[in-house]
Amino acid sequence: MNHETFGLSTNLFAFLDWHDFFFLLFAGVACVAAVMVVLSDNVVRMALHLVLSLGATAGLFFLAGAEFVGAMQLMIYVGGTLVLLVFGVMLTAQTQLVALRTPAGDRVIAGILAAALLAVLVQAAFSIESWQKPGQGVATAPTATPLGMALVGVRVDQVAEENLVRPKSGYLLPFEIVSVHLLVVLVGAAYLARAKRRRIPRSVDLVASADSTKPRLPVTASSTLVAGGPK
C-alpha cells in the first residue's frame, strides 16, 4: 500500500513519537490537576483533582516501565485519597465548611514555600549529568522481583559483577523495624481512641455521685443525649 495515499495525517502520525506524546500527556494532566487542587475550594473536588494528579503520575511510572511503583502509586495514594475524601466529607459536609477559603497571608507563605521547593528541585534536576530522553530509560520488564530480592540483600541487577556468591546486607531489618513501629502506632492509636471514649463520665453518673440523696429524675437534656435519648 502506498504511504502517500494517507496524506498529511499519515506524516503527522508517523512522525509523532508516541512515547513523548504520552509522557507529555501524563505530565500535563498531573501538573494541571495539581494546580487545580490548590485553586478549587471544594473538598471533594480537590480530592478528585488529587486523584487525577496521582493517577497521571502512576501513568508516568507505567510509561517508564516501573510497573510495580505505578501500581503501588495507585494502591496507596489513590486509595489513601479515597479515605481522606470520606473524612473530608464527614467533617466538612456542614454548610459553613463546604467552601474553603484560604486567607491571603497563607497564600503568600505557601507561594514562597512552593517557589523555594521548585527552585531546589529544578536545580537538582539540571544537575544530573546523564540525562536520558524519555523512552531511553525504559527498564527491563520485571521490576517487582529485583526489588524484592534487593530487599533481602540479593542485587539481581549486579549479577554479572558479583556472581551472586553471598548476599549483601539488605533492607529487611530496617523494613521490619519500620513495619513493627507502624503497627505499634496503629495499636496505640486504636487504644487511645477507645480509652478516650470510655473515660468520659456520663452526666447521669456525675449527677448521681454529686448528690445521691436527691432523686435522679428529672434528667437534664444533655444526660438524655449521652445516655441514648429519651425512652
Binding site: V44, L48, F68, M75, L82, V89, V138, T140, V159
Partner: protein, 406 residues
Amino acid sequence: MAEFLIETAGLPAWLSWTAIAVLSAVLILNVIAGGALVFIWAERKIAARIQDRLGPTRTGGRFGWLQSLADGIKLLAKEDLMPDGADALLFRIAPYVSFCASFCAFIALPFAFDVVGQRLNVGVFFVVAVLGLEVFGVILAGYASASKWSLFGAMREAAQVVSYEVPLGMCVVVPVMLAGSMDLVTIGEKQAGWGSNWFIFHDPFTFIIFWVYYTCALASVNRAPFDLAEAESELVAGFHTEYSGLRWSFFFMAEYGSMFLVSALAAILFLGAWNGPVPVSQLLGLSDGMAANAPYALRLLGCMNLLLKATVGVLVMMWIRWTLPRLRIDQVMTTCLKYCTPIAAAMFAGVMLWQLFLPGGLVAGSFQNAAGVREGWLEQSNNQESVNEDALSDIVPSRRIVEVSR
C-alpha cells in the same frame, strides 16, 4: 500481530500499531458491554426462577433474550436529569470514573496464554489496585447527588471498602506466593495440566482461602448480601438514586464488568485459569511445554475455558444475591474484619508452612514450588527476559527495549 500486519499486509508501522491498539480496546469494551447485556438478562431470568416466576418471556422471541437490548434502548431515550443542588461536574463525571476503573482493570486481565491487553509484571497487583478506584466513582456519585440517600450509600460504601480490602489483599497474595510471580499469565501457566494442579486443590488451606476470596470479591463488587451502597429496600437506590438514563447504565456496566472481572480473577488465581480440568491439548500433543507456539485454536479454547469459568462465577453471585438477605453495615464489617481477615491470615500462614514442609505436595513431584521458579528466574539472564519484552512490545508501539545488564 502488529508485525504480521507490517510484514504481510504491508501497512505502515504506525497504522498497524494503532489498529491493533484500537482492536484490543474495542474487544475489551465489548467484553464489558456485551457481557453486561447477557448478564442482566441472566440475572432477571435467574431471579425470576428463584422466586418461582418466569421473568422476561416475550422480547426477542423465546426466553426474552433481547430484553436487555430493549432496556438499553429505553435507557438511551430517557431524560437525563440532574438535581438542582448537585455538584454538576462531579455528578457528571462519577459514572465514567466507575466505568473507566472497571475498564482499566480489564487491560491487564489475560484471557488465554497471551491473549492479554497488556501483560504486566505485576498484573494481580494492578488489577486489585485499579478495582479499588471503582469505589471512588460510587463515593463521588453519592456526594455529588446532594441527596441524603445517596450520601448514606456512599458512606456505607466507604466503610465497606475499608473492611474488605484487607482480607481481599491477603487472599490474593496466596496464589502469588504459590506461583512465585505476580504476573497473571505466569500464575495461569503454573496451573497447566490436570485439574489437580489448580491452586484451589494445592492444599487444604488454599481450598478454604478461595471461599474467603470469593466472599471478599462479592463485597468488593457491591453485590448482595453486601449491596449496602445500593440497598434498594432502605435507601431507594443508594448512591445512584438521582441518576437516570445513560449515566445510570454506566454504573451498571461497571458493576457487571467488575463482577466478571473478579470472577475471572478467581478463575486465574485459583481455578486453573485457561487450563481445563483435563489437559486435552497436551494429551493430543498439540503443545509442547510452554504454549508460546501453540496454535490459535488452542488459545481460542483457552479463552472459552476462562470465559466459562468466569461466567459460572458470575452466575453463582446471582444465585447468592437472590438467596441471602442483605447484611447490616456492622455485620458486613464484622464478616470482613473479624472473620475473613483472621481466616485469611491463618490460611496464609498455613500455605506458607505447607510450602516449607511439603513443597512438592502430598504426592512427591506433583508441583513445582515457588522457590524453584524464582531461582530459575535468577539463572536465566536478561536476554531470556527479552522474550517477554517482545510480547510486551507487541502491544506498546514505542516501547524500546534497553538491555541494561549488557
